[in-house]
């Protein structure tokens, strides 16, 4: 399989400079490396900017509902365990509308990979605050600044029992591809949070730096609350 085998003939509709491009390339690279044919890969999509990837990625794609890509993925994986199953969503879908599905899938250690495209804002509905919008950020729905601390997908997943947790910026395509690959071959629940600040609605967050973690932490407490850490942050191998 080559990267082009995962391409469709559809026009990509993301804004110029969007992190989606890097994410899409990284995902294709990971699928090539994992040696899967498009027919054996299921991606269940949320609804939103990043979820429009259903039209751009040639696999068994399933555009589901806002917040509900995780349970659809679980059902598909349970029905046919030989499939590689990814649930995709923005932070709107995964930690806002459907956060309960994230924590329960992590609790059950369901054998799927959840990819969150975190742009810190509801993009496709023109820039309202989500549960993961940083405190103080001015958005269309918080003109005086977001009053709440952000919910962190990595923290939620770790507390709930996830066995593979990672965070990576969409701009680091090769490293992101490697992390997605590692997540795909992990047995059990894996989470990849992809940081891709919106170039239209959260411009001020673009270009933020993180600290790369070269080896997963053994202790979850070293990760929880550390939002600037990038890489595979925690992995528990099934014995």
């Amino acid at each position: 399989m080559k990267e082009d085998d995962f391409k469709t003939n559809q026009e990509i509709t993301w804004c110029p400079g969007c992190g989606g491009y890097g994410f899409l390339t990284a995902l294709k690279k990971a699928l090539v490396k994992v040696k899967k044919e498009p027919k054996d890969v299921v991606v269940t999509y949320d609804i939103g900017c990043s979820a429009n990837a259903i039209n751009f990625l040639n696999v068994c794609g399933f555009a589901t509902l806002h917040g509900r890509s995780i349970p659809v993925a679980i059902g598909a994986k349970m029905a046919n365990p030989s499939l590689t199953v990814i649930a995709q969503g923005g932070e709107g879908g995964i930690v806002t509308e459907g956060a309960n599905h994230l924590i329960h899938a992590a609790q059950r250690n369901d054998d799927i990979t959840v990819i969150i495209n975190n742009n810190f804002v509801f993009g496709l509905t023109t820039g309202q605050a989500s549960s993961a919008t940083p405190k103080g950020l001015r958005t269309r729905s918080t003109p005086e600044g977001n009053p709440f601390e952000a919910l962190c997908a990595v923290d939620l997943a770790l507390i709930s029992g996830a066995t593979f947790v990672s965070r990576t910026p969409a701009s680091a395509v090769e490293r992101t591809a490697e992390i997605i690959y590692q997540a795909l071959i992990h047995k059990g629940f894996s989470l990849v949070e992809i940081i891709q600040p919106c170039v239209v609605w959260t411009k001020e967050l673009v270009g933020q730096d993180g600290v790369w973690v070269e080896k997963p932490f053994a202790n979850k407490l070293d990760v929880i609350g550390n939002e600037k850490l990038w890489g595979i942050l925690y992995q528990k191998l099934l014995t």
Binding site: Q10, P38, K39, N58, T64, I70, M78, L83
Partner: protein
């Protein structure tokens, strides 16, 4: 008057359900048809659980308000129900105490205590009942053996309890139950709850996946499927439940959910997705008294409109409403065929009365029901050409496109409006064609109803779902009525519409406040439909229905 009604009553936890089940099954062994209708509040211990057992030499039995025999396990329970004694068979009762008994006074509790387990007072009570009705102890013992055979110690205890209870009955004299004619022995009568019959159908259909969040009255479906070959997912909520079932169906398994009105409310968005993405899904909705938490352990037929119209936008769906064991068994399987053949959501409406009551049916009649698995159009062995060559939503004459499963080829499935390939599309022409494609899928549906009674009768009763046995019981003595039973309320059967147009007088009998099916029929045939309605959580009782239909 060929029916005889017994009520057992006791606090929750005293084994009333189990005693009722054993008694009604033992009565089936004697050759009687039975109805066992349980009532219980939302609590696990104390209060009043009661079971009504009506037995008869004839099929189709309605619940009754007036009973012939009460056995209460507790003074409060006795006080609560003693006023109900005075059924049609009561007048001929010759036993002392006028058909009203309390376990403590009879000494049944003492017997149980002596045997070392106060819980067997209920089985001692069954021995007592068998004796005063003049039935052979041996038959009850056979049923006890079937119930407790797996544990010799418990079996021995219960056998001793029924024998001791039987002896207590000797001193109370014998009842005259001669009028309750025993059916010819030699044929087997099967005793099942509606849920049990439904699960038999589900298993027959080779269902592969069930996602169920607990809710009365479908909890026994979860318990039974958990012990079956079906893969069971216990979701965090009903939204996850229906979405996972849709995922499993998409990946190739026959999939279902089961819930009640509250859970179904949460599933509505998912059901709409199944409608537009054309994923087969079976949704069992056991109705209970709503709205909101309502009366959680009581029955209702108020979710018909919700099942037919729930959801935003328009999409094809099928609504089924089995009325008895045979239909629950048949439709439990057929629901999967319909869902997969037409690639639509199928909602199977039962209710607490049908789901948890015990009914009886001739075994040979149940065995006659056959339906083979129909998985609809499939692209089996399809060799992919790189994915976007697969027209998952191909425009076809009948609107049904061949289905593929992941692993066969790459293809797209989409809750957005989409083109034939599954790519998202807002184009005008595509939308028009795609809507028409989906909405014409069900145009070939046939059947969906049953006709009972004489064709030329003055009044046609219309019902759907669990009122079937009740209305058939009523019909036995009232030939001036005939009856149209709708087991597929949606799409409403065309033939039934024609029959109704020719009917002289139409009366809808429904367990809801407003007459939801009556409203639907009025819209279809432009005529007034009379209504006999009941919305208090209980089934229509035999005398009550007579009083309301015959003025």
């Amino acid at each position: 008057m060929k029916n005889f009604a017994i009520k057992l009553s006791g606090p929750a936890g005293s084994g009333m359900m189990q005693a009722g089940e054993i008694l009604s099954k033992a009565l089936n062994r004697l050759g009687f048809y039975t109805l066992m209708y349980p009532e219980y509040p939302s609590r696990i211990r104390g209060g009043d659980n009661n079971v009504l057992i009506v037995f008869s030499s004839e099929k189709y039995i309605a619940a009754v308000e007036k009973i012939d025999l009460l056995l209460a396990f507790g003074k409060e329970n006795y006080e609560r129900h003693k006023g109900e004694v005075g059924g049609p068979a009561f007048a001929k009762a010759t036993a002392g105490k006028g058909g009203k008994y309390e376990a403590g006074e009879l000494g049944l509790n003492k017997i149980a205590k002596k045997l070392g387990n106060p819980l067997v007072a209920n089985t001692a009570g069954l021995g007592f009942i068998f004796r005063i009705l003049g039935f052979e102890l041996r038959i009850l013992e056979e049923q006890i053996k079937e119930e407790f055979g797996k544990n010799q110690e418990i079996l021995k205890l219960n056998l001793e309890a029924v024998r001791k209870g039987y002896e207590v009955g000797v001193s109370c004299g014998l009842w005259d139950v001669g009028r309750v004619v025993r059916v010819r022995v030699g044929k087997t009568i099967v005793n099942l709850t509606g849920n049990e019959a439904l699960v038999e159908g589900i298993l027959k259909a080779d269902c592969g996946f069930a996602a169920i969040y607990p809710m009365t009255p479908i909890n026994s479906i979860l318990a039974m499927l958990t012990r079956s070959k079906v893969q069971v997912f216990r979701p965090e909520d009903e939204i996850a439940g229906i979405m996972a079932a849709i995922g499993a169906s998409y990946a190739g398994k026959r999939a279902m959910v089961a819930t009640s009105g509250g859970g179904f409310s949460l599933m509505i968005e998912g059901m709409g997705m199944a409608g537009t993405a054309e994923i087969p899904i079976v949704i069992i909705v056991g109705q209970r008294t709503g709205p909101s938490t309502g009366m959680a352990t009581f029955s209702s037929q108020a979710d018909l409109n919700f099942a037919i119209f729930g959801g935003h936008g328009e999409f094809p769906r099928i609504v089924l409403s089995p009325g008895d064991l045979k239909e629950a068994f048949f439709l439990g399987a057929e629901a999967f065929n319909l869902a997969e053949h037409y690639q639509v959501p199928v909602i199977l409406l039962t209710d607490k009365y049908l789901a948890e009551s015990r009914f009886s049916v001739d075994k040979e009649e149940l065995e006659k029901i056959r339906n083979s698995v129909d998985r609809g159009k499939l692209v089996e062995g399809f060799e992919g050409d790189g994915g976007f060559g697969c027209k998952r939503y191909e425009f076809t004459k009948d609107g049904i496109s061949p289905r593929a499963f992941p692993g066969q080829t790459a293809f797209l499935t989409n809750s957005y409006e989409h083109d034939e390939y599954g790519f998202s599309s807002d184009e005008v022409e595509n939308r028009k064609k795609m809507m028409k494609k989906r909405m014409r899928k069900l145009s070939g549906l046939e059947g969906g109803y049953g006709r009972y009674g004489e064709n030329g009768a003055k009044t046609t009763l219309v019902g759907w779902g669990s009122t079937k046995e009740i209305i058939l019981d009523f019909l036995k003595d009232h030939q001036e009525f005939n009856y149209l039973h709708i087991w597929r309320p949606w799409p409403f059967p065309k033939e039934a519409e024609e029959i109704l147009k020719k009917s002289k007088r139409i009366v809808c009998v429904e367990g809801n406040f407003s007459g939801q099916m009556a409203d639907m029929i009025e819209r279809l045939i432009f005529r007034k439909v009379e209504r006999v309605l009941k919305d208090d959580g209980r089934p229509f009782f035999k005398r009550e229905l007579e009083a309301r239909l015959i003025k």
